[in-house]
């Protein structure tokens, strides 16, 4: 009964379960970046650079693991050696 209602396209819960994931991921990206501060370059440049690289890499190669791995490595290099 509950499921029949939720299964119909017009139900509120059905609608939410279809759109909420996209908004939730948006929220999570912001959540992960919440500690960015624009007071000094070291506190926002590594993140922005890495995210730009990830976006570009993912649009180019469309390989999830590659994008995640390379992006993380880039960030770690930036944070450990460039913007100490």
């Amino acid at each position: 009964m509950v499921f029949k209602k939720a299964n119909s396209d017009s139900s509120y819960i059905g609608y939410l379960s279809r759109v909420l994931p996209y908004s939730a991921i948006g929220l999570l990206v912001v959540y992960c970046l919440k500690d960015i501060s624009f007071k000094s370059p070291a506190r926002w440049l590594p993140e922005i650079i890495s995210i730009a690289c990830i976006t570009g890499l993912h649009c180019w190669k469309e390989n999830t693991l590659l994008s995640i791995g390379a992006g993380t490595v880039i960030y770690m290099v930036l944070v450990q050696f460039v913007f100490t």
Binding site: G26, V29, T64, Y75, M76, V79
Partner: protein, 258 residues
Amino acid sequence: MLLNLRNGFFNYLNRAENMNEKITALKAAFPHTIPVLTGFIFLGTAYGILMNSKGYGVGWTILFSLMVFAGSAQYLAITFLTSVFNPVYALLMTLMINARHIFYGISLLDRYKDAGRIKPYLIFGLCDETFSIVCSTNPPEGVNRNWFYFFITLMNHSYWVIGSAIGVMLGSIVSFNTNGLDFVLTALFTVIFVGQWKTQKDRKPAVIGVLCSVICLAVFGQSNFIIPSMIAILAALTLFRKAYRDQIKPCGEKESLQ
């Protein structure tokens, strides 16, 4: 006594048949899980290394992966573990991030209908990858459907646990500067976001998500913006509901990581 022997013999045949049934299902299911194998081993290892760098050992890591089995939520959980204890936040965040599983469950009502005793495990073990495999494949002729689904679920689950175990053990053996490793979480969500951005025709939910969060972050500060963001997102989505009722593609069609 002959009757006992005969019954015993038939029992043996039955059990052998059941065993055969399961082995056949296992063999049929395995090839479908190979892509997941590589993905989960890699991500699980990264997770394990991260856990190790935060001071959690093999036991905790394996327990998490065994009992939670939700990649992005587990990564997020690390941040919960290392900050102020706030179970309500944890509950709400986990709910938000895994809300899509509501849709998976509903979509699989039919396929899992006759699963009987293994249904609870099938439900527990449902994740993006398992969902896409179950949705898009049918067991070959002669293979028991329920065991087929069971082994897909089980194998994906075990890849994740094994990956985590490898990671946490690797982390304690190999010492390297793990500063910045937490970024893997940001990377994961960014990749999912970009992937979804490209495939969804209507990007309003994604824009709503980011915009509401950024505004609330600016207004309420780092430690208090989550709940207002969720409320704002829900409000905005409800407001926009009429505008794009039929345009959203169900989330499960595209591969995304837990």
